[in-house]
Symmetry: C2
Subunit: 452 residues, 2 copies
Amino acid sequence: MSEKKILLSEKEIPTHWYNVMKDMPNPLKPPINPGTGKPAGPEDFSAIFPQALIAQEMSGDRWVEIPDEVRELYKIWRPTPMFRAYQLEKALGTPAHIYYKYEGVSPAGSHKLNTAIPQAYYNKKEGIKRLATETGAGQWGSSLSMACKFFDLECAVYMVKVSYNQKPYRRILMNSFGAEVIPSPSDRTESGRAVLAQNPDSPGSLGVAISEAVEDAAKRGDTNYALGSVLNHVILHQTVIGQEALLQMEKVGEYPDVIFGSCGGGSNFAGLAFPFLHQNLTAGKKTRLVAVEPEACPTLTRGKFAYDFGDVAQLTPIMMMYTLGHDFMPPGIHAGGLRYHGDSPLVSQLYHDGLIEAEACGQTDVFKAALQFAQTEGIIPAPESAHAVSSAINEALRAKESGEKRVILFNLSGHGHFDMSAYESYLSGNLQDIQYDEDALKQSLERLPQVT
Amino acid sequence: MSEKKILLSEKEIPTHWYNVMKDMPNPLKPPINPGTGKPAGPEDFSAIFPQALIAQEMSGDRWVEIPDEVRELYKIWRPTPMFRAYQLEKALGTPAHIYYKYEGVSPAGSHKLNTAIPQAYYNKKEGIKRLATETGAGQWGSSLSMACKFFDLECAVYMVKVSYNQKPYRRILMNSFGAEVIPSPSDRTESGRAVLAQNPDSPGSLGVAISEAVEDAAKRGDTNYALGSVLNHVILHQTVIGQEALLQMEKVGEYPDVIFGSCGGGSNFAGLAFPFLHQNLTAGKKTRLVAVEPEACPTLTRGKFAYDFGDVAQLTPIMMMYTLGHDFMPPGIHAGGLRYHGDSPLVSQLYHDGLIEAEACGQTDVFKAALQFAQTEGIIPAPESAHAVSSAINEALRAKESGEKRVILFNLSGHGHFDMSAYESYLSGNLQDIQYDEDALKQSLERLPQVT
């Protein structure tokens, strides 16, 4: 057996982020200011984002330099290892070679720290004292809390209430880094109060929590907003994953036939896939790039490609993306980080153009795969990350059936150490596939904003 | 700034374990069979241990070869990284260079997997079907559960009841690897029933849980017992840590003036320290080697160097070691893995001979240090590991006061992802220093067995 881990040195941490916008055959449709109905300019974002991130959001450069201060902090855990899943391959009896890029070695436990650090850095540099954000399962909130502590910023995290109650240890982790954690919907904001007035027992959603955090940031001059996925600059920061993975595949002399990444807002999938898409678009490579989403919140596979709000309270600019409707309330699955009605405009446009693929997984299949992975490779995947695990295992089994060798790569974006209640639920037989409400989906798609 | 992480390649995983017995100026006193009062031979251990481990327990070889199958599995996470604690140094304003060897990258979350894997391997090889063990905070139980799953062995874990209740996610983690987890004291064994008869609300202790696991193993022909610390073969397996650390210090061109390791049964401390002790004894080096224990269970600093049982029910051979008395019940501190009345005979003898040092830390100081570490370096330490963090920080502050450069190395033996309730307790101001009962200690020391 050869090497299990493919490691890089700190000198091989990428020096630039990769901006896919430059290589897209069809450009993004512009975001729309909901007040004027006109394309949103930098000024529409300046109340809640620093100039540097607004510039990245709209950048036409293919490569964006990573500041030295950010690269220094990346050294805490980057480059992340790539593993060859020898034990899993053996258990599956597959001729496929399975590789995974493991982002769970980040001290915050997931890939989210890749963008939390630059976001905190740029905000600090522009004099901001405090960041407000939302979190679902807590991976993003944990990462931003840590990044804020590193840069001596205050941090307020609106955490989707169902996850807040399911995952008390996540809250304590964020508290340990000095963050304030507020269950959402809360009575701290108008958006939260409006939801509570309608349903005092609302489990919350990412769409509601985003409204609360945006409102918090917009109201206070010392506070900006930070988002953990969806936006172009977030996707940009995550491309360190795929760039390292390209180098690691090169070191073992293989190249992936297919890549899987779990997809909620899109940054997990895109972070690994876009540098390989760059190779597809510019170097004649033909890697299949597959975004894996939950059946309970099937934005790409069942949603509509349309202009929609990013949040329930309609505070954000209107974006062209796949969406289930901004007030669609996904069922309370354990992969809370994937419970978002929309998707990254970049991922959406590329999916629309047929350059990437998407598939949806049921919750029980996901946990079955997660456990098989844990019992062979040792690592307990986060429920979100386990969507990619599930698809990778299915692909490896198809390769076994057809007797073809195949090189599979997936993003194991985080560990599940704070998600053990979900595993308990699965092990005790209480975990079920939860279907979304077809009628509710139909109705929420009828409430999309009109953009002319 | 230069490299943050000092990494080794898989080829640099040690090929042999280091056996300190060969280099000790004073040999170990033999273990005693409590029935005969005579030195215990291999046959006294064969009911519960495989021959290969009994041979290692008594080995006179300085170097013991690591089987290929074990080294293959070590590749999942070894070599572990060594970190330079730049951010912590900066926060402390110390001229000291602080390094830590991070064993928490093990998929089980701590150094315990270093010995769990060879123990499972040797038992499997000798036809055993099932292993029984005890666990305190759960680090050892998690590791043995995982190792048993890798080798297709059944696993029964008697978990100290106070930890079982404090740390539900630990139990789920072990269940995820297929282990059965039983809160101890239980009604499954005579030892457990005896404790429950005296005190139905007993919080349990490692000494009781060991009795239960040993009894379970002794009663069943298909079952052996596995211990996570104390014994010579366990210490042996952990020396991969220090051997890698020697190589890593060499790569950065430094050498530690002082090493800290948390000490309960001793394997955490010894695993890092003994290969450096080898250098002290054979190559003229003079590194201070400091075992750090909790004030609430101060075996080395307040115990007696005497023959004693390893467990409450007096089922184990009598060993010469520092002890607080086999029926001493340490208070329920959060560092459950350090709540053991005795200590490794190897560590004890070396401490007695003045070749290593020891110090004790209070629980609140430990958590204060843990939080400072987490907020600068990002990693949440396990409460056990945080004892070494606390001593390392104190040493760095002394270096600051005296203005001396000093190279400090400590073993960050595991992460605290499953110990967040302890952090919550600290953050909410509910965590206190708990003193052991002086009278109870005096009495338990009067009940040591008589060995002539």
